[in-house]
Assembly symmetry: C2
Homo-oligomer: 237 residues x 2
């Protein structure tokens, strides 16, 4: 065991954050840093569903005590990313097939809701931004760069959430999206789907910019519906 008597903070440098981002205030405690890191690892798939989160192991890995590790895990539990049960090790959430399908369904409706509100409420500058992001997606789709498409696709949807002018609804949508991401990784494997996705975006953008709420809702539902249909490889419990 470590006779290491260092009680000072670990060598882990205070996050040399790109300090120009007001949206991500940079973690001010170990617990928060851990929470963000673990959430990211789970969403990115680095920590797969079902993986056991051993407190001591994580404490060693991040060079902190178990206390902040526990706090991070509990918060992730409350937000649904990990499954935590009393006196048992926490594990990365591993919902049943039915639950995942339910989450997809909920996400489809939430995104559709956002699109509908966006059609009613987006300002001109917001529309311009949406259009800009959408257009920047086109060459990526053509090139078939699935990785990059995913990234900008996030921005595209984010622009719509913002345009819905409802922070709470946007939060529900983002959280749902985060929780689903581990189960929708393989959805953009081929260029055909990328192109199709982009075409669907095109229609959604048009409806939103023309203020056609009902159409935006329907088109977004159809769009997410396709993504949903693309979900396949997940072994049910």
């Amino acid at each position: 065991m470590a006779k290491n008597g260092v009680t000072m903070r670990p060598p882990a440098a205070p996050p040399a954050e790109t300090a120009g981002e007001p949206g991500v205030p940079a973690p001010r405690t170990h617990a928060e840093r851990l929470r963000l890191q673990l959430a990211d690892d789970i969403v990115s798939g680095e920590l797969a569903p079902g993986v056991v989160l051993d407190e001591m192991e994580l404490a060693r890995r991040f060079q902190v005590s178990r206390t902040p590790v526990r706090e991070a895990i509990r918060q992730l539990g409350a937000s649904g990313l990990v499954d935590v049960r009393p006196h048992r090790s926490a594990v990365v959430a591993r919902p049943s097939r039915g639950q995942v399908l339910g989450m997809f369904e909920a996400l489809r409706e939430l995104e559709a809701l956002c699109a509908g509100f966006a059609a009613e409420r987006m300002t001109k500058p917001e529309q311009a931004e949406l259009l800009r992001v959408h257009r920047s997606l086109k060459p990526v789709a053509k090139a078939g760069d699935s990785q990059r498409y995913h990234e900008i696709n996030e921005q595209f949807h984010a622009a719509i959430w913002v345009g819905a002018h409802n922070v709470y609804l946007a939060k529900l949508t983002t959280e749902t999206r985060a929780r689903i991401t581990p189960f929708s990784r393989a959805q953009f494997r081929n260029m055909g789907r990328l192109a199709k996705s982009h075409a669907e975006h095109e229609a959604v953008v048009a409806a939103i910019c023309k203020g056609q709420s009902a159409e935006a809702v329907a088109l977004m539902k159809a769009h997410i519906g396709y993504v949903h249909d693309a979900y396949v490889g997940y072994r049910p419990e």
Copy 2:
């Protein structure tokens, strides 16, 4: 300093639970018990928005150390009931007026969604249960028992969430409802609104049992819309 810090009743013996409820597994740790108690106090309004949650004070009140208190507070923070900021005392969430309105709007859409799915998916026994709860609400509405109406009203909506056959969507809805409750207390002050609410329920139930999804959605939106309109007394930030 006051040694008599008892501003609320002490934690009450843990094992006195009515052990017949499978839905509420009875807390097996101090942290969980605290979380449930605090959540209840916040939703019930006993802990008003803006109230400071002092860790040591809570630890004394519940006769535990700060550790489980912190865990409970962090979990409540993740679920949005309290506002937690690094190195500052946590406070009961006190969203701006705009945020509250956004939550109402989101709740309206979520409940409507549930009603729509319920119309498509409810089994006969579930419909029977919904009808039973609805009917049990009638005399309460007539009597003008606002308190009891609120309680059974929860059951009514819960029956619809269950009927939607989407656990995740149901969870989003219940959590949203919980977060809004502290700001919608005065909504059933007069008998007129109680009767009106019950009449709206009647229409929703009819649409659901006839499998009319679109109608159920519209009627539920209108119903929650009224509740939303009844929201008044909240000083914006």
